[in-house]
């Protein structure tokens, strides 16, 4: 193929563009696609690359969505975009790409490009901007409707761009220009090109993938996103997606230089690309337009080879009249390649004779297939059309309609009329639309044989899927092996699983399966179609929710304080929490040991603001909480706190926390970190669906209060310093009491004597933004006491030493309160959610996983959390008796220890279990009571004299 000296309606020869292909600098024009620019650049780039399985040279075989081999890897520094369809990418100055036709390569650099989402609503969404789609959009625009029309090609017009048609007695270009102008000028019409409708949504939605910045030179991209995903909701959708052209199958039908007939004339008309000598091989009339277009442009036409017997169609007559050689009931039975692997001749069999025809472009066409995929994705059905030999849509889905060639009505007149009519019907407009006259002609029926058998019987070079190198031989082998269902053939041969998604290949494959299996094509059908229509990058679906925006990062009011102290942070759900506060020269272990020792022997501070908090109030708050929680809460006195557990209906633990009674009708409920929203929703669900008559209101208030834990034997002393008006002696402020006081000058602070460490401790809650003042006051007043901030690492050690569980870590989906060692809190008579299930489970406790403690035999070996525990070491399979749920080194007991869920664990204390580790070592543990330290609870109230 070469660029003719003039012509080319789509290119602007006054604006040459330089681009780089496989390292070579080439030139094209504004208006070219990468495909047309490559074709125009000469012989040396006709060979795009070699196929994966067969290693055969391949080129560009279409001008649109049918493309199965013309793919490139396009540079977009610092990354590259793989598998870009060259027929879709507009050429821009400085474009740099490589031929990678089979699979792309991932570049490890992070892609800095932006990918955006846009949400849009409209009255009418038209998919496809060919004649039918444009006619539909025009009706909508003239009716004043909000219209969105989208087409995956860089320009509107569809098939009108590839041949010289006449509408209303004038060239179709004039109609096209006028319509496009009218649509773009209408204020409520959005015309999107380079935009592929990739996936339909239920209830009349559609995803459109629009190439934005990616179609521009880098210097011109500015702040534009690389691509944009439109999520459109439409009152009505018109699918005017047209047809896809189907190639013929014959030996060596894959060479660079063999392309679809419609594509060949599209390249001629729009891009002034023509062969030195073209040959047309067809089974239907419409492809004859390519021969006529070549002839009119002065291109040498070697022959038109038609599988069918002679006919009367007007296009066939016109080709005869032009003196072009036509061979009927003839076949191409093979092709020859030059030294570069590109087409140089075809082998023809006609009238009993075989001969060769020199050619550098063989245009083939077996007919067209309606482009049904969006219709099929949501369950639309199709039927077999006997005349076309392919599937046409049956009833449209609710809210949708189909118009134009996609319905199997292939004339231009039908497209214009149907487009207008369906749009009017969709918008509820009365009256018929006037469709302009066109130059359609009568055509002979298309032939329904699309494959030429190899003269030597070797079908392994007759390609059906050019991306997967699936051949006729492969399909025959599949059918002969018993795979007569198209879905089985698809998996056996991979036909239709390539980048082209079987748009073309699977129709050919289905016909071959039908022929080989001896079933009617109508019965065989084609394999299923799934979205997206074209591959889209994950980046596009993620949109802006990438990197730091993937998930919100939540920090407490004390975050800057922790950072100023040099804290190391870790994510806990969406929160960033301080893990520890290292001092110079300390290892991580040193820091944790120091913080634990401070909490157990002095005074230490932790930011526990992230624990969920709920405000529950109302005349029925007591009743509601009492019903939901296992623990009795209606009887909780004002000013007291109680550790409480919440269960699912099936008796498993949903959450635990401390519930405080702050008034006759008010409770302050705490939950595990990250569970406040789930617990609040659980309460709401019961209030709304089961107890709508109860007056109880639940408000998550986690972000309303900063809570600081003041922990250790000296905590009472420190609290007295910062809250001089608060009586802190043991008798006035006992364990689980809740008081209100002025702390660090902050009025109405809540102080609760609760402990997650087993030491004397207080949790002080102030309004969120008063947190830093509280923290600093505690640090200042605590300095003479050696006050030590401590983080999550030390917090874990402290609670594990005391056997305090964390829901979701030391409990699993089925763990009941009895399993977790909390059977003591289950009341005998009170109703609670989960009671019915526990009544059945509790008497059948044998064999259930129970929470126990363990001590590591090697005191320095911390056993990884999640390690399986077995009683019988030996060759696999070893029985799994349980697993380690929490595990740390305890400086207090100078031993690695933790908690585990073990089958019948409580009856097995003292038993030795083994944990095979990933590095091949085997750790051994002894099962013990989960409360490793101070089981009597003597440390809870601090020293007597305070």
């Amino acid at each position: 193929m070469k660029r003719l000296p003039d012509g080319g309606l789509g290119i602007d020869r006054t604006r040459p563009l330089a681009f780089t292909w496989n390292g070579t600098r080439l030139s094209g024009f504004a208006g070219d696609t990468l495909a047309s620019a490559l074709l125009g650049a000469g012989v040396r780039v006709r060979v795009l690359g070699t196929s994966v399985s067969a290693g055969r040279p391949r080129g560009i075989m279409s001008a649109g969505l049918e493309e199965a081999t013309g793919f490139a890897q396009v540079a977009r520094a610092p990354v590259e975009e793989p598998l870009v369809r060259t027929t879709a990418l507009p050429l821009y100055e400085g474009l740099s790409a490589q031929g990678r036709i089979v699979k792309g390569a991932l570049v490890p650099a992070r892609d800095p490009s932006r990918f955006d989402w846009r949400y849009a609503h409209c009255d009418l969404l038209v998919v496809g901007a060919g004649p039918a789609g444009l006619a539909a959009a025009l009706e909508g625009a003239r009716a004043g409707a909000r219209v969105i029309i989208a087409d995956c090609a860089p320009v509107v017009g569809g098939t009108l761009r590839r041949e010289a048609r006449r509408i209303d007695g004038a060239p179709a270009e004039a109609w096209l220009a006028a319509v496009e102008h009218e649509l773009r000028a209408a204020p409520d019409v959005t015309v999107l090109t380079g935009t592929t409708a990739v996936m339909p949504l239920d209830q009349n939605g559609m995803w459109l993938a629009q190439r934005v910045g990616g179609a521009l030179p880098e210097a011109a991209r500015g702040a534009r996103p690389e691509q944009r995903l439109w999520q459109v909701r439409a009152q009505a959708i018109v699918l005017a997606t047209g047809t896809l052209e189907r190639p013929l199958v014959f030996p060596d039908n894959d060479r660079p230089g063999i392309m679809l007939a419609g594509a060949a004339r599209h390249y001629l008309r729009q891009y002034a690309l023509a062969p030195a000598r073209g040959v047309l091989f067809t089974a239907h009339d419409d492809a004859y337009r390519t021969a006529l277009a070549w002839h009119e442009a002065g291109v040498s036409v070697g022959a038109v080879i038609d599988l069918r017997p002679p006919g009367k169609g007007a296009l066939r007559a016109a080709v005869h009249a032009a003196g072009i050689r036509v061979l009927n009931e003839a076949q191409v039975v093979g092709t020859d390649a030059d030294a570069h692997g590109a087409l140089c001749a075809v082998q023809v069999r006609a009238g009993g004779a075989m001969f060769a025809l020199e050619t550098d472009l063989l245009a083939t066409s077996a007919g067209v297939d309606p482009n049904l995929h969006l219709h099929l994705h949501l369950g639309g059905t199709s039927t077999y059309d006997q005349r076309l030999g392919t599937a046409v849509p049956s009833a449209p889905l609710p809210g949708q309609s189909l118009a134009g060639a996609v319905t199997g009505r292939l004339t231009l007149a039908d497209a214009l009329a149907q487009g207008a009519t369906t749009a009017r019907a969709a918008l509820g407009l009365a009256g018929e639309a006037a469709a302009p006259p066109t130059d359609d002609v009568d055509e002979d029926p298309p032939g329904l044989t699309w494959q030429v058998p190899a003269p030597d019987g070797d079908e392994s070079r007759s390609f059906v899927d050019l991306h997967r190198d699936a051949t006729v031989a492969g399909i025959v082998r599949a059918v002969d092996a018993g795979a007569t269902h198209v879905e089985h053939v698809k998996r056996y041969t991979l036909v239709g699983t390539g980048v082209e998604q079987g748009r073309v290949a699977k129709v050919l494959a289905a016909a071959l399966v039908a022929a080989r299996a001896g079933h009617p094509a109508a019965v065989v059908g084609t394999s299923g179609s799934r979205p997206p229509v074209e591959p889209i990058p994950f980046h596009l679906v993620a949109g802006r929710a990438q990197g730091p925006r993937f998930e919100p990062v939540r920090t407490t009011a004390l975050h800057a304080e922790h950072a100023a102290l040099g804290a190391v942070f870790e994510p806990a759900g969406q929160w960033m929490r301080a893990s520890r506060y290292p001092r110079p020269g300390e290892t991580a272990d040193d820091t944790v040991r120091r913080e634990v020792r401070a909490a157990r022997t002095g005074v230490a501070l932790a930011d526990v603001s992230t624990l969920g908090k709920l405000d529950v109030r109302g005349p029925d708050a007591a009743w509601v909480l009492d019903q939901l929680y296992v623990t009795p809460l209606a009887s909780l006195p004002e000013g007291k706190a109680r550790y409480a557990v919440l269960c699912h209906l099936d008796g498993s633990i949903l959450d635990d926390g401390v519930v405080m009674r702050t008034g006759a009708h008010r409770y302050f409920v705490t939950t595990s970190t990250g569970h406040a929203a789930a617990v609040a929703e659980w309460m709401e669900e019961w209030l709304q669906t089961e107890w709508p008559d109860k007056r109880c209101w639940v408000t998550p208030v986690t972000e309303q209060f900063t809570t600081v834990a003041v922990v250790g034997p000296a905590s009472r002393t420190l609290l007295a310093h910062v809250a001089p008006g608060l009586a802190v002696d043991r008798d006035t402020f006992p364990f689980l009491a809740v008081r209100t006081a002025t702390v660090a000058g902050i009025a109405n602070a809540q102080v609760a004597r609760v402990s997650f460490s087993g030491e004397l401790a207080y949790e002080v809650s102030v309004p969120w933004h008063d947190g830093p003042a509280l923290w600093r006051a505690l640090l200042a007043a605590g300095a003479p006491l050696g006050v030590t901030p401590y983080g999550l690492d030390a917090l874990q050690v402290l609670r594990i030493e005391k056997g305090y569980l964390i829901v979701g870590q030391d409990t699993e989906a089925l763990t009941t309160p009895h399993d977790a060692g909390l059977g003591w809190m289950v009341p005998t008579r009170k109703a609670f959610v989960g009671r019915r299930s526990l009544e059945r489970i509790a008497p059948r406790a044998a064999g259930r996983a129970q929470l126990v403690g363990f001590r590591s035999h090697d005191p320095e070996l911390v056993i990884p959390e999640g390690a399986a525990l077995t009683s019988a070491l030996g060759p696999p399979p070893m029985p799994i008796d349980g697993h380690v749920s929490s595990s740390r080194y305890s400086p207090t007991l100078a031993c690695a220890l933790g908690l585990a869920l073990v089958r019948d664990g409580r009856a097995r204390l003292g038993e030795v279990l083994h944990a095979p580790l990933l590095d091949g070592r085997v750790a051994s543990v002894t099962l013990v009571d989960p409360v490793h330290y101070d089981p009597e609870g003597a440390r809870r109230d601090g020293a007597d004299h305070q």
Binding site: L649, P692, D693
Partner: protein, 89 residues
């Protein structure tokens, strides 16, 4: 991506809601078999199915949605009300 007409807020995209079970009424008294059915067994009809959804990013109300399992058409939505007093079969 369903579009669910919230009875309080109007038509909204599925991402504003959370599917919240089947809204099976809880019986006052149940044998073990009946209770297991309530907890674990669900009908899976080919056709309209009543589901419970909650409009978490909207009015935060629990609603009943009748959805056709074949076509995903939303047949009806209504506010949830307290379950009937009589036990269900």
């Amino acid at each position: 991506m369903l579009r669910i007409p919230c009875p309080h807020c109007g038509p909204r995209d599925e991402v504003e809601f959370r599917h919240a079970g089947s809204g099976v009424p809880l019986p006052e008294h149940a044998t073990d078999e009946e209770w297991a059915r309530v907890l674990y067994l669900r009908d899976t009809p080919l056709g309209p199915l009543t589901e419970q959804w909650v409009h978490v990013h909207g009015c935060r109300q629990w609603i009943h949605v009748v959805r056709d399992t074949r076509t995903h058409a939303i047949v009806e939505t209504r506010p949830v009300s307290a379950p009937p007093a009589e036990p269900t079969s």
